[in-house]
Amino acid sequence: MDIISQLQEQVNAMALLALNTFGTLQRDAPPVRLSPNYPEPATNPSEETLDIAEQPKTMSAALVQAAKKFDALVAALPLSGEEAQLKRIAELQAENEAVGLELQKQLESAEQELKQVQELFNQAADNCLNLKKPD
């Protein structure tokens, strides 16, 4: 895939990661104590609480990785100025014209030689036919 499409895919991936991170954390967050009047919320230590502690680490690591990959892709962009590109295009077009003309010249002379050779071959074949006496 070309690099600009890769960059666009990376941007979308970062958006998706951020979305998943906040969505999951918000959904799975345990209740928190709001005011001193209310009792502590009941925390059931189970397998889920372990996962809930691990998730922020892995998800934030994934976010940072995606951001680093984006920066690496940006650094790999082969950018050059617009005028430089237009100048190069003009140069290449001129060179293309010149090479095209030479190709056409060569082609014409080659076709002419081919015609000459064919003519000679016809004459030689006719001579052969005329010289060979019918038995």
Binding site: I4, A67, A110
Partner: protein, 171 residues
């Protein structure tokens, strides 16, 4: 053609083509292609294929305007801004959860700017592709010239040889 009802009937021009089979000249010519902007089902479209700027879409532009934009610098700057805003959103959700909307709007604004920057790189890519195609075509033409030269020389050589053989036979 000036109807703006939701289900307009087809235009009545078909009657003009009644004698088209016998006399193709009696019917009017088709209309010329549209230029500029045209309305279609209530929305305005344009025939000028250009990327609409961010202001046209009603989105604030975060990177500086100007004739030459340093894409790499702006893209990395926007990436950093994005990371900072994500961290801010996490903080806001912890401390003042009801104020998430503004932060989410900022993050979506950054994403829109990022995509617009990437889209404005496409013309540059098109020119680079054109350069590549021209270079390849020049190389192919040069190769063809070389091939033709080589074959002509070989044909000349063969002719000379056959001439010598014939002379040898005769003499």
């Amino acid at each position: 053609m000036a109807t703006s009802s939701s289900y307009p009937p087809p235009p009545p021009y078909y009657r003009l083509y009644k004698d088209y089979i016998e006399d193709p000249e009696s019917a009017p010519e088709p209309p010329p292609p549209v230029e500029g902007t045209y309305p279609l089902f209530g929305a305005t479209y344009t025939t000028d294929d250009v990327l609409p700027s961010l202001e046209d879409q009603g989105v604030r532009q975060l990177y500086p305007k100007g004739p030459n934009i340093d894409f790499k610098r702006e893209l990395t700057a926007l990436n950093r801004e994005l990371q900072l805003h994500i961290l801010e959103l996490a903080d806001v959700l912890v401390e003042r959860p009801s104020q998430y909307a503004r932060r989410v709007e900022d993050i979506s604004l950054i994403f829109k700017n990022l995509h617009h920057l990437l889209n404005s790189l496409r013309p540059h890519q098109a020119r680079a592709t054109l350069i590549h195609i021209l270079e390849r075509q020049i190389q192919q033409r040069k190769q063809a010239v070389e091939d033709i030269k080589r074959r002509r020389e070989e044909a000349q050589r063969l002719l000379k040889e056959s001439l010598q053989t014939l002379d040898g036979h005769q003499a």
